[in-house]
């Protein structure tokens, strides 16, 4: 970072400092209006009784107590953990596998990369509606047509409580796995090929090279992507809202969807909605904290 001292000459006098801040001001104002203030405001709002956009009076933790006392909260909390579990089970290793396989291809690599990335570009809402035609329980549903060719009678999918969450995760994985695979491929491309050559000369098999050179090299990246995946799947909201409306019988209701229902589902109870949002934030903060604690330990090892 020797550049830092050179850059230093760009600032210096107070007039310059002021001008620099003026240049950043529009961006800072927007960040405040769209990101930072709403975040703080949602904490404040969760402690108030609200009527439409007005804060009526301070009620302490009443919103939290009332929200958490209801069955749908318990259900949504468990569902959200279930989403996370299935997402890790289905969606975590798959991109690594895809990246491993595409990375080994000697021809057509560009085509494979393009094909797996394409679903990621499609609008998420359109993807959910598209897949609803696949999992339709009618005999004209795409999956039922396909299994019909094997002689299996039509099944219903989205009305089965134990299937809806895995199905939603399969759809999310279909959309996102390719893009994540490309990130892993970038990480793998950074490995010096001479390492493989040297290992091969020492008699290491292809398996051994993968286990002892490639996988350790992407371990840190995998850790980062893991926590990002948890953060994003924990906020799952419109997917169940559109595909199943949270059903059958709240079996796919997520926490964020519950927040949306409180706020915009007719009741306009922004205080209770904020209480749910703050709860989700707290859970995520704790999980991120645990992650960075272990991550720090790990880097001590290195």
């Amino acid at each position: 970072m020797s550049e830092k001292s050179n850059r230093g000459r760009l600032r210096g006098r107070t007039g310059e400092t002021l001008k620099s801040w003026l240049i950043m001001l529009p961006g800072l104002l927007l960040m405040t209006f769209f990101v930072w203030e709403p975040l703080l405001e949602s904490i404040r709002m969760s402690l108030y009784k609200t009527r439409n956009v007005e804060l009526v009076r301070f009620v302490g933790l009443d919103n939290f107590i009332s929200v958490m006392g209801k069955d749908d909260f318990t259900q949504a909390l468990m569902n959200t953990f279930s989403y996370t579990f299935w997402s890790l089970l289905i969606g975590f290793a798959l991109p690594i596998l895809l990246a491993l396989m595409i990375g080994e291809t000697r021809r057509g690599k560009g085509f494979f990369r393009t094909a797996v990335y394409l679903p990621n570009m499609l609008p998420g809402l359109a993807v959910i509606i598209l897949w609803s035609a696949f999992f339709s329980g009618e005999k004209s549903g795409v999956l039922n047509i396909l299994i019909g060719k094997l002689g299996i009678p039509p099944q219903s999918y989205l009305t089965k409580a134990h299937l809806v969450i895995p199905i939603l995760i399969v759809i999310a994985t279909w959309k996102g796995a390719g893009a994540t695979a490309l990130i892993y491929m970038a990480g793998m491309a950074g490995i010096n090929a001479e390492l493989y050559e040297a290992a091969a000369i020492d008699g290491a098999t292809v398996w051994q090279r993968m286990l002892h050179i490639l996988l350790p090299a992407i371990r840190k990246l995998a850790g980062t992507l893991l926590i990002l995946q948890i953060i994003s799947v924990f906020q799952i909201m419109y997917e169940p809202m559109v595909l199943t409306k949270g059903g059958p019988d709240n079996a796919s209701l997520s926490l964020m969807q519950l927040m949306w229902q409180y706020a915009f589902g007719g009741a306009m109870n922004y205080g209770k909605a904020s209480a749910v949002a703050v709860t989700v934030t707290l859970i995520l903060l704790v999980m991120t904290g645990i992650y960075s604690y272990f991550n720090r330990k790990e880097s001590d090892w290195d």
Binding site: L28, F33, F34, A115, P119, M121, P123, I128, L182, A193
Partner: protein
Amino acid sequence: MAEQTRTGVIRDYDMHAPSVRVGYGIILFLCAVMVVVALFPLVWVILAGFKDLREFVSSTRLLPASFDPKTYLTTWNQLGIAKNYLNSFLSVAGSVVCALLFNGLLGYGLGILKPKGSGAVKKLVMLSLLMPTTISIVPLFMNIQKVGLGNSFVPLWLSYGANAMYVILFVQFFESLPASILEASRIDGCSQLQVFFRIVLPLSKPICSVVAIFAVNAAWSDFLLPYLVLRGGELQTVMVRLFVFSTEQTVNEDAMMRSVVFSMIPPIILFFIFQKQLTENSVSVGIKG
């Protein structure tokens, strides 16, 4: 595609071993399966869009009986999608301008100018990257209501000027620019803003195009905040319409699937134009690494 050195674990000489060759065959087969899984739903929905309602509800064939483009045209006209397209384009255009201008200027301040105290702001921006985004949609919507910007593109445009990820992308890129060029231009008497528009931006085409592509795609696909801001009005975008269709079930299944196709066309075109930038290593690393 500058260097064509092999990066894989399997080296050329491994290919002599039969077991490795079998393994490689399996890999190729699985890659082919993967391509089919990735593309089949997309191809299917485009072709299925030619089905009429009766076929959609009762036919047990994957493909439509006939490929009459009228099905698509009728839906396009009946639902008045053209107007939604125009709205979407307007919304996207303003969003991209805001994404480049405001995040770029903030990134310039945090990455190059670095006035006293900007380090703390940079940390704050980094922190917001980890913060769940949908959490604050309620108070954000209330803010927009309070300043009277409901039923307008302005809040949607400006919301793209406040994207922590784009700011960080700019900062990282700007920090890699050679300080000597910037300094020389300062000595030549350019003001800070002139340096930004005349020196920094022209040098930053790669990162600007990355942010622009991501902003176009995000703004096109976005529907939650746009729905809250634009619902019921004349300015609804394609995705807002699609969201309304899906929640209120006012359109038939066949028209719904055709609307899905309509909503996918611009992103697919964008993808094929910029597929190289999008699938290039550097970009994806910048996003999540």
